[in-house]
């Protein structure tokens, strides 16, 4: 029951939000929905519920980690939204809060679904729920962004569906009692899976889920979309959508590894991961728009996740930990940048310079985010990236590790140059924007504390969950 | 060389001028007119035969040879097609290539004759005709390949015979596509709407008509007869693909052929009535579609026989 509530509560809330009039009523509704969901997640974490619907909807360690991450990030987004939608000229229409809650419902479905086709439905629903949010500003640039997003995402998702069907075909020769496309049965009877169809399924699912994650070369929608969407939507996409897509990829990796196709899939994952890192570094250093900068940073981190999955072992643990870190850090960064944009009154790159001189708290948070996202200690991403690098060395991929370290340096330079300019640059002449707001500061502040905490110490229950999750991916904790 | 094969060839020579007549009559009837009599072309041919020809001073022997060559090549090509359903007068492995190239030879000489007149008007028609032919050739060859694959025989006599009749029940969709493709090639090679309008006199729209504008008298008669013969030859080919008559005795097969050709002529008339002539730039697209259909037929037949 609790499991279904996790999906249904946000869904009902989304419908309810569309019925409410006036942003003054919708915003508390959003907050209520987010907090209820977070409470439900805590409840299922403490007392794991039983699977429902023949095991189609169930909770395992990996799903719980993703669910908790998305829920926590969403709660932060809801808090931020209170401050964001409160602005006098905020165009938050009816669809805004409704789509946000719909996204939460869809993301919960993805996290809880153990049936691949159901997972696909959830992922497609997240795609569709976000589209109106990207188009929020209703101008030409956001129109272009949402069109590219829709076309590329839809193609990726369609190919992922083909991959799901291939997976069903691979399972066709198995024992009749096995539930088709259910993760547990796929892994249990993995040796009966037909290798050719399984590998074809993996390729298509990698392309499809990779498009949603933003792995290169399917990442082309990311810079435009992150650049034009409102900041809190960007936070949700960079932290929530990517985590859901990663979950899909991780599940199919687990199935393929259990079936013995490891040697086939590992080079693919490593290849896409390294390519994403290279592309991200190359484009990052020439960026002038901060939000597009963050998009390429997201591509970089997705590449890291792919590499972690591909190398296995401790790398799987590192990948799952990094997913959490990435969500927190991206939320932090997007919120801080959002504050800067509001302070400057416009998102144009030229106007953003020095905007945070007038908003010191957000500036400080942005600096914290910069160091966190580039993997400096004492923040969380350092530990996860260290784990992945360690796994690479352990597996003998010295060259890949060396390239990654070099790219990290390049990315640090690119990010620092632009963000420092935003924080410390000479302030631009007119600044009609909106001042600081406790809600809009509370959200990134909490995320910053979370990132710092994860960099210093990982709580016991979390560690156990991570280790269990890594175990299902064929890896283990350090 | 069976008597039925010879009789069939003679019969085709005789009824060839009927085909344009039937097509024109159908078109007229569908337009609500009475139209010219079906035997009109026979009267035209006999009238033209009694007239003398006028030759331009710029023309050479090529101009005089071309009409004869057209009829000769068409006649030779007729001998390769199994009109009675069983065997043609001449057949050897790969004779469909010879068929295509005999017709191409006739067209080549006609084009040379057009260029021979030294007039840019005919030259324009010649260049258009050659362009259309260039696009129609692949479609024709693909259709032949399809028929060869379906029947397993490499000569026209075998390919359009009993083996094809046996292939129809299993490969009906593919062969239907090939038949449609052949019909489109028929429209192109016979200079019919939607590729070319035989009734038009506007230079903007003519292809075949303008190429033979300078011929007169007996030459013109030969050219008209040769075109009609080509048309009925393609119609006979189409009938051979759609309804292989190998199992029928010759006395039944020949009337069946005639009936089939009449049906094809009526179909041409109907198509001419309901479609408009294509813009010249769209003709390659039209013929590529014909090639694509034939290619699809080949793929399906290969897949069907392979698995």
């Amino acid at each position: 029951m609790l499991l279904l509530a996790l999906i249904l509560v946000p869904a009902v809330a989304a419908l309810g939000a569309s019925a409410l009039r006036g942003p003054a009523r919708r915003t508390p509704w959003l907050l209520l929905g987010a907090m209820t969901h977070l409470a439900l997640v805590a409840a299922v974490a403490i007392t794991p519920p039983r699977p429902v619907f023949h095991g189609w909807i169930a909770l395992d360690a990996l799903g719980l980690v993703v669910l908790a991450t998305v829920s926590a990030l969403f709660a932060a987004v809801a808090v931020y939204a209170v401050g964001y939608l409160r602005r006098a000229h905020s165009p938050g229409g009816r669809a805004f809060v409704g789509c946000l809650l719909a996204f939460l419902a869809a993301a919960s479905l993805v996290a809880l679904s153990h049936h691949f086709a159901l997972l696909w439905v959830g992922l497609e629903a997240t795609t569709l729920a976000l589209a109106p949010l990207i188009f929020h500003k209703h101008d030409r640039r956001s129109l272009e962004a949402v069109w590219k997003y829709l076309v590329i995402s839809s193609v990726g998702i369609a190919l992922a569906l083909l991959g799901v069907f291939f997976l069903a075909t691979a399972q066709a020769g198995g024992p009749p009692g096995a539930r088709p496309l259910v993760v547990e049965d796929l892994i249990a009877y993995a040796d009966r899976l037909h290798p050719a169809w399984l590998q074809a399924a993996f390729v298509f699912l990698l392309i499809g889920f990779g498009t949603k994650m933003g792995l290169a070369p399917m990442h082309t929608w990311k810079p435009d979309t992150y650049g034009e969407a409102p900041s809190l939507v960007g936070a949700l996409m960079a932290g929530g959508l990517t985590s859901c897509a990663f979950l899909g990829l991780a599940r199919v990796t687990a199935v393929a590894t259990a079936a013995g196709s490891g040697p086939f899939i590992r080079p693919l994952l490593l290849g896409f991961g390294v390519l994403s890192l290279v592309v991200a570094a190359a484009f990052l250093i020439v960026q002038t728009d901060v939000k597009r900068l963050l998009a390429y940073s997201s591509v970089e981190h997705m590449g890291l996740l792919a590499v972690g999955l591909g190398v296995g072992g401790v790398g799987a643990y590192g990948a799952v930990l990094h997913m959490i870190n990435n969500a927190m850090v991206k939320g932090l960064l997007f919120f801080a940048v959002g504050n800067a944009v509001l302070r400057a009154g416009t998102g144009a790159p030229a106007a953003l310079s020095g905007a945070l001189r007038r908003a010191p708290a957000s500036g400080f948070l942005l600096l914290v985010g910069l160091f966190a996202v580039t993997g400096s200690p004492p923040f969380g991403p350092f530990l996860s990236e260290f784990a992945i690098l360690g796994a690479l060395f352990h597996a003998g991929h010295y060259w890949i590790a060396a390239i990654m370290l070099a790219l990290f340096a390049v990315i640090f330079v690119g990010l620092a140059a632009r963000i420092l300019e935003v924080v410390h640059g000479p302030p631009s002449p007119s600044a009609p924007g909106v001042g600081e707001d406790p809600w809009r500061l509370a959200a990134p502040a909490v995320l910053a504390i979370a990132v710092l905490t994860l960099g210093v110490f990982i709580p016991g229950p979390l560690f156990r969950a991570l280790a269990e999750a890594a175990g299902t991916l064929g890896g283990g904790a350090p | 060389m069976t008597w039925s094969a010879v009789a069939a060839v003679v019969m085709l020579f005789v009824i060839a001028p009927l085909v344009p007549g039937i097509a024109a009559k159908t078109k007229a009837r569908l337009a609500g007119r009475r139209g010219a009599p079906v035997l009109q072309l026979y009267w035209d041919l006999s009238r033209l035969w009694r007239k003398g020809a006028v030759y331009s001073r710029t023309t050479t022997w090529v101009f005089r040879v071309a009409p004869v060559a057209l009829v000769a090549t068409a006649g030779a090509a007729t001998c390769l097609v199994p009109l009675d359903g069983a065997r043609a007068i001449l057949s050897f492995s790969g004779d469909f290539v010879a068929f295509a190239y005999l017709l191409a030879l006739g067209r080549f000489l006609l084009v040379l004759a057009a260029l021979d007149t030294g007039s840019s008007f005919e030259g324009m028609g010649a260049s258009r005709e050659v362009t259309v032919a260039a696009f129609a050739e692949p479609a024709l060859f693909l259709a032949f390949v399809a028929v060869v694959v379906a029947s397993g025989e490499t000569s026209l006599s075998g390919a359009l015979g009993a083996a094809l009749a046996g292939a129809w029940p299993t490969a009906a969709p593919a062969l239907a596509m090939v038949a449609v493709s052949l019909f489109l090639v028929l429209l192109a090679e016979g200079s019919r709407v939607p590729v070319d309008d035989p009734a038009t006199h506007l230079e903007l729209t003519m292809i075949h008509e303008v190429m033979v504008l300078d011929h007169s008298g007996q030459d013109l008669a030969l050219v008209l007869y040769g075109s009609a013969l080509k048309l009925s030859l393609f119609a006979a080919l189409l009938v051979g693909v759609v309804a292989p008559r190998a199992a029928l005795p010759p006395l039944v097969a020949l009337p069946a052929l005639v009936a089939g050709i009449v049906v094809a002529a009526v179909a041409i008339g109907i198509v001419e009535s309901v479609t408009a002539r294509l813009r010249l730039g769209r003709v390659p697209q039209f013929l590529t579609a014909a090639s694509a259909l034939a290619a699809l037929g080949v793929i399906l037949l290969l897949a069907g026989s392979g698995t």
């Binding site: 129109l143 272009e144 590219k148 | 694509a292």
Partner: protein, 212 residues
Amino acid sequence: MTRVAELLLLLVILTSFLALGTARVSACIRAVALQGLLLGLLPLALYPAGGAHIWGLAVGTVLVKAVVLPRFLNWAIREAAVRREVEPRVGYPMSLLVGVAAVAAAFAISSRLPLPEQAHEMLVPAALATVMLGLFMLTTRSKAVVQVVGYLILENGVYLFGLTHVERVPFLVEVGVLLDVFVAVFIMGIVVFHINREFDSLDSSHLSALSD
């Protein structure tokens, strides 16, 4: 019934070619509507013994793919004083030839993959061919609504492949997939409508302001 199914599959491929080779946008939409109709009839032809859920799937598919979505797409482009010509980036004859190559490739690939049991032998090649043709159309057409048609054809191809598994992938999921496609095209249609209004044209090459 396999003959009927084979004929339907062949017609599905031919309608993809029709959409690929036509010069008019409205003809494109009509072609994909026809394809939707054929796709709706296919489950009935493939599984004549099927129960209510096969009928439900067929009716639902016909409703969504052959009636609602094409009408909606026509609505989306109606408002504009727009040129109704497709304006492809790759010419029509070339598109047709690439299409034939795609079909040949699909047949070649499927002959190498072992077929799922109980599947009609032409289903997998037809599915792969339709996917490739849809993808080709999506990438080589510049009018936004024609790109949506290409996406629909791509989805039709994936749906075709899913028909090999009607027994294993149950009805509920097929309905879910149908619903997703419906909503996706709905949203795309709205965006096309906005593109139409904003640029007074359906040409997506106008959408090039954002780049690196």
